[in-house]
Symmetry: none
Subunit: 210 residues, 4 copies
DNA sequence: AATGAATGAGCCTTCATTCAT
DNA sequence: GATGAATGAAGGCTCATTCAT
């Protein structure tokens, strides 16, 4: 609570506060004043550390990517392709449901998808591409080399969009549709469901076009 | 340009304009002035006809829900359960990709999901429930009476969330992942993919728990 | 004092108030709030009528040019070239010392010269050119066709810059140097002085280069 | 980059930087942060060394006035009165067009004239008076003892205001009116022009009132 | 019944200044 | 003695809303 601190610390507090507020409200609706208040700093702090709201937003993405990316991809994936797909889905869901940087980032991501700010350009594809590549390879292994590329891509979409339900899990119809509240056990069940459901789906469409 | 129209007509134009703008920008980012301009009405028109922005938003939802196109949604379903599921998916996608009231409503719906305004309470469940009921019945028929209710609900989510990718089709990663732009032929392909993928998935998880 | 007036009236009041404040303080130091207060309007009035401060500034120039220009050039100039020069100088000084639109414009002009805003581009040369042309022709007549063009242009500058002292007459060293306060009689004396001084000057340099 | 310089040195760098920035932008538009950056000092340096922006401004004037280049201005004038006038005009113009302290000071002076800060009271007259005195004596010699004092003062104004065109030489109409860019040769030509033009003017008005 | 005029509250940003070290 | 951190006050702009006609 020292009055004049390291400076990097206040900056970090602002970054985290901004991450939360942007994730909750979206870029436009997020108020600089709210961010500062949540970080325990003055209104002018955002300008002091980041220049303006736009730059702050970009830095929040940068920060989120740098920190979230770490947890994102199990490099040591092993086992059969089926096992790897299960692992992938688990990771994806964990990513979407996580608290802290990772979960927040997922929400940030959806916000940007629904209400594009046009402020993050590069970071966007840097985020998507490696995830997509990974999933693509797994699916290719499961379906076999004979399948159309489009078939695989459609499977990617089916899987990613099933997992994405977790992004909107709050305030959404997910809980309503399941008739119960979300808890870790249910999340596990969902992950298994998506894996089973998808593996069958993949095989089915793989046969049709392979 | 008539100075004295019916009065109800201006009101309707405002309602439509508001639907468009809210769907495009979301509640907060939508500007009353824009809505009025698009409706060819005065700045004060919104407040004159609807009291304020919030009431206008509620009326837009009400209007959308009362709209026959949305409400009568897949009444005429017939054939085997598999066929009815295909029809359902097609309807859902058509709904999401349609222009005019229907597609706009879908976007409104997503906007509300991501950025809840807390203004529409009742209308929300009125929308979801009948759709869900319908899908539930179809799935129950396919899976059989022995299955857990939760299993069916998970399948509902899998299907709905696959279809939901169309809502964010613009500015999203869908086109990026498919490596091509969306056109009617591709939408058809996607619908078939989701149906095939899901039917296989349903059967698989049905067996596991049934 | 009607609460809701013509609208053009408030706009005009803003335009005049802005003219005064910009002339007194310069573009940057002029406060929108001050302008509005002086015009008896709300802070948002500037945005309502002119969009923003910059546009207001441009409109003030436009307005000043349209109104000042009327009084600016005696089209019916007659008499010998010497007489026309005297007339020109009188006009110029009257222009610089006038109250209301004309005098204010001169100050605006000087402000722009010292602290260019880069906002008025076109209006600038439109202002200068006709004045310059007129003086140029008079001087050419006095000096004779044999003189270098540069010589004439130097005489233009000598005259214009002598007259320009009136622009800075307040807060300046003019009163201090003259040892007395400015009054209409003194202005007359100054005009005669500048005319006599300049006519002799013109003839002298005309001989040298002619 | 030394952490421990004399301390006086930083102060001096600030003074010079401030002189430049104030001259370029005027008091209000000059930013403390800019001044500090240009001086290679910390944002807090101005307040540390000078208390606040106002005091810094006053010290800049004081510094400029105390500066030998400005104060010793045309001490060594000799020759006939005509020659001394030519010298005076040359000095004045050199002063206005000079780079470094002197030219900067001229601009500071004009800024203050157009946009009085009310901060320099005393220094103001200290600047004007000795210059004026000098010119006055020269003119008195040329015109002769019989002339009205007012006549001489009017001539002073004519000369000073002709020379003053150099202060606003950038961004002004001077280049536009001359139809060419300013270079040392042209400045020389202008100095000669003003001298010739003025000498003739002086003699003419001297005769009229003498 | 309908509208152009006008406003107030709130937001982002700037900047001189202060403070703790 | 000097500085990076932090702040408060104020300015420009946006926008939903209100008012008089």
């Amino acid at each position: 609570m020292a009055k004049r601190e390291d400076g990097k610390e206040t900056r970090l507090r602002l970054l985290n506060a901004a991450g939360e507020v942007f994730a909750e409200k979206g870029y436009r609706a997020a108020k600089v004043a709210d961010i500062c208040k949540r970080a325990g700093a003055n209104v002018a702090a955002v300008n002091y550390y980041f220049g303006n709201k736009k730059s702050l937003y970009r830095e929040v993405w940068q920060h989120a990517l740098e920190n979230a990316e770490v947890a994102l991809f199990f490099e040591s994936a092993a086992g059969s392709s089926q096992d790897r797909l299960r692992q992938y889905i688990h990771e994806l869901i964990k990513n979407f449901t996580a608290t802290g940087n990772v979960g927040r980032f997922s929400r940030l991501y959806l916000m940007e998808m629904v209400n594009p700010t046009g402020l993050i350009q590069g970071a966007w594809h840097e985020t998507i591409e490696p995830r997509r590549r990974k999933l693509h390879d797994i699916l290719r292994n499961i379906i076999g080399p004979g399948a159309e590329d489009l078939t695989i891509r459609l499977c990617e979409l089916s899987i990613v969009n099933q997992c994405r339900m977790f992004v909107t899990i709050k305030h959404s119809d997910v809980e309503y549709m399941l008739g119960r509240t979300i808890d870790p056990k249910l999340i596990d069940r969902l992950a298994r469901h998506i894996a089973d459901f998808s593996l069958a789906g993949i095989r089915a469409v793989g046969k049709l076009t392979g």
